[in-house]
Symmetry: C2
Subunit: 336 residues, 2 copies
DNA sequence: CTGTTAGCGCTTTCAC
DNA sequence: GTGAAAGCGCTAACAG
């Protein structure tokens, strides 16, 4: 078993002191060029790398970012994680990923654990339960210790930190407007995530669009986790003769498509469907689903960028901002 | 800015030595109950938690597992990651996730970085490029340092370590057999991942099944990353009058379904489709896709379990094993 | 029972 | 130019 080389061993072998070796490796001008060369040579030979743990203990920096996600099987968060990882690794940061499964308790545990593992900062998307309970002591604790936090997508006004969100309200307003413009008059809004902040914003956008237009009628269906989405949506579609559906989340949109097909409706001739989604569903579904793309990767990358920036230019009195990433309505032609 | 409390500060405030405080916190029987109580009280008051970095530096254990994944947008790996995270966190391990984007160079960099960050062990799925180049020095280096590695799904015979794989060969054999049993005689095999070890195994299974049955004819389509999958598959389906397709990966299967529908084929009446996939595609597609489920979560969980086990019972001479997780053919009735 | 000491691997100040 | 020494926060062997 070959162990990792330490400064001590290099020093011994070179008949130098540890501090001289350390300085040489940093090309400190104090040290003679000759010594520097000798040290580098041996260090290369042994493929010396400083022990990150020791460096961290000394510097109080770990070059590690803690990531708190509610889920990972949801493609939106997988994409966001990808964006985060790409951006973080560019700046030499590692990411420690924790998945709360939408549980408040797990979220608290993870935040504490990562904090005691001395991550340099956090990127967080709140769990559903946390948003419902509205309890954020675990983040306030971080703030007190001046640990930078960047929240994305699932955020809360009660925490003063940088945030990266999507323009949900405008996006859903635009989506509805698009449906209206293409001639839809009876529009349904279906969601399986009514509890979340994002769903509320999206609904506001819907209201704004329809309020300006009294020839349009609106029906809503909000499904709980416990219900059978397929059955409920099928029933809903049968009972409400709508000519368009806006799915506020990917599941709602996908199930709507499938149930429409099952009922023999032609898309988009009989019924138009738009979904909030970044998933494969929409990419590979047939007929193609028109979607509000949330640019999850950008969202994640942006969050990482902001955090890394903060970590690199630490300032005592920092004023936090909220960055809004624009969505886009991706219209996919189903005849293609 | 409130900083974290250290043993030193507790000791000072209690007029005790650091070591007495340290022992008290561990309820060392050497220490008087009274002292123990005093210490615990103050520690609770300050919400003391040992500095993980210092503990790691001392113990040479970080309670951290390095995860090397080729991608994360692929649902299979997202599920595997989920399984890993769940299992690891059960045992108090954190995971540091790195995504190679199928690049050999990035893989090497990440492995080295994580190793110098002193992760306790690795869970790896090889990148495509690494499998093609067949270069594994970065893992041999770990082996020399006795760092445990568990590989899953994308593995190599050239590295002696624990492996968790899926019974790809048997699975595809069974899938083909199922198609034959349900009356298919002209069967196509389509893949977009021809380079990977798993694809090769799956193809072997196909051959075994068809070799035993000379009334069955087989056509193959292997697509490169560069080609336009949709166009190619559509053309292929038009030119080959097959009555069944086995997609060796999710993309192949999904695109096949879509193109079949586009061409007006009824599934499964005109054409049967089975796909190797664990994705949402199959879950939400309509008509339902019959799939070979690779139990990605189980795969990840198993890998984590094996690694944690090794980490907890370190033995100098360990004989590595390969664990095979069974797939299952999930037959989804499209009329339902 | 409690305290002293050394050491994990590194950085950095201050002497020589 | 080089080295000794202190210290990051913790553990553990050893003394008292």
């Amino acid at each position: 078993m070959r162990k990792k080389v330490t400064l001590k061993q290099l020093a011994k072998e070179l008949n130098l002191s540890i501090s001289t070796v350390s300085k040489s490796l940093k090309n400190d001008p104090e040290i003679s060029q000759k010594t520097i060369n000798r040290v580098h040579e041996l260090a290369n030979f042994y493929n010396y790398k400083p022990n990150a743990l020791a460096v961290s203990l000394k510097s109080n920096k770990t070059k590690t970012i803690g990531i708190i996600l509610p889920e990972i099987l949801n493609h939106f968060f997988a994409k966001a994680l990808f964006g985060i990882e790409q951006e973080a690794s560019k700046s030499g940061y590692k990411i420690v990923t924790c998945i709360t499964n939408e549980s408040y308790k797990k979220e608290v545990e993870y935040v504490e654990m990562l904090n005691y593992s001395s991550v340099d900062g956090f990127i967080v998307a709140l769990s559903q339960e946390t948003q419902v309970l509205n309890k954020f002591d675990h983040y306030q604790a971080l703030k007190r210790e001046n640990v930078p936090i960047v929240m994305f997508d699932r955020v809360s006004d009660e925490i003063d930190c940088d945030k990266v969100i999507v323009d949900d309200k405008i996006a859903s307003k635009n989506a509805i407007q698009y449906l209206i413009d293409t001639g839809c008059r009876k529009i349904a809004v279906i969601t399986t995530i009514g509890d979340l902040s994002v769903a509320k914003l999206r609904l506001e956008g819907v209201k704004e669009a329809t309020d300006q237009n009294d020839t349009v009628s609106l029906v809503e269906l909000s499904l709980k986790d416990s219900s059978n989405f397929e059955t409920e949506i099928e029933k809903f579609l049968k009972n409400n003769d709508v000519n368009a559906v806006l799915g506020l989340d990917e599941t709602a949109a996908a199930v709507t498509i499938n149930m429409s097909l099952k009922l023999g409706y032609k898309i988009p001739n009989d019924i138009s469907v738009i979904g909030f989604t970044d998933g494969l569903l929409s990419k590979h579904s047939y007929p193609k689903l028109t979607t509000v793309s949330q640019h999850a990767e950008d969202l994640g990358a942006k969050a990482a960028q902001i955090l890394v920036n903060q970590l690199n230019n630490f300032t005592e009195n920092y004023k936090s901002k909220t960055e809004v990433v624009k969505t886009s309505l991706i219209i996919r032609d189903s005849t293609n």
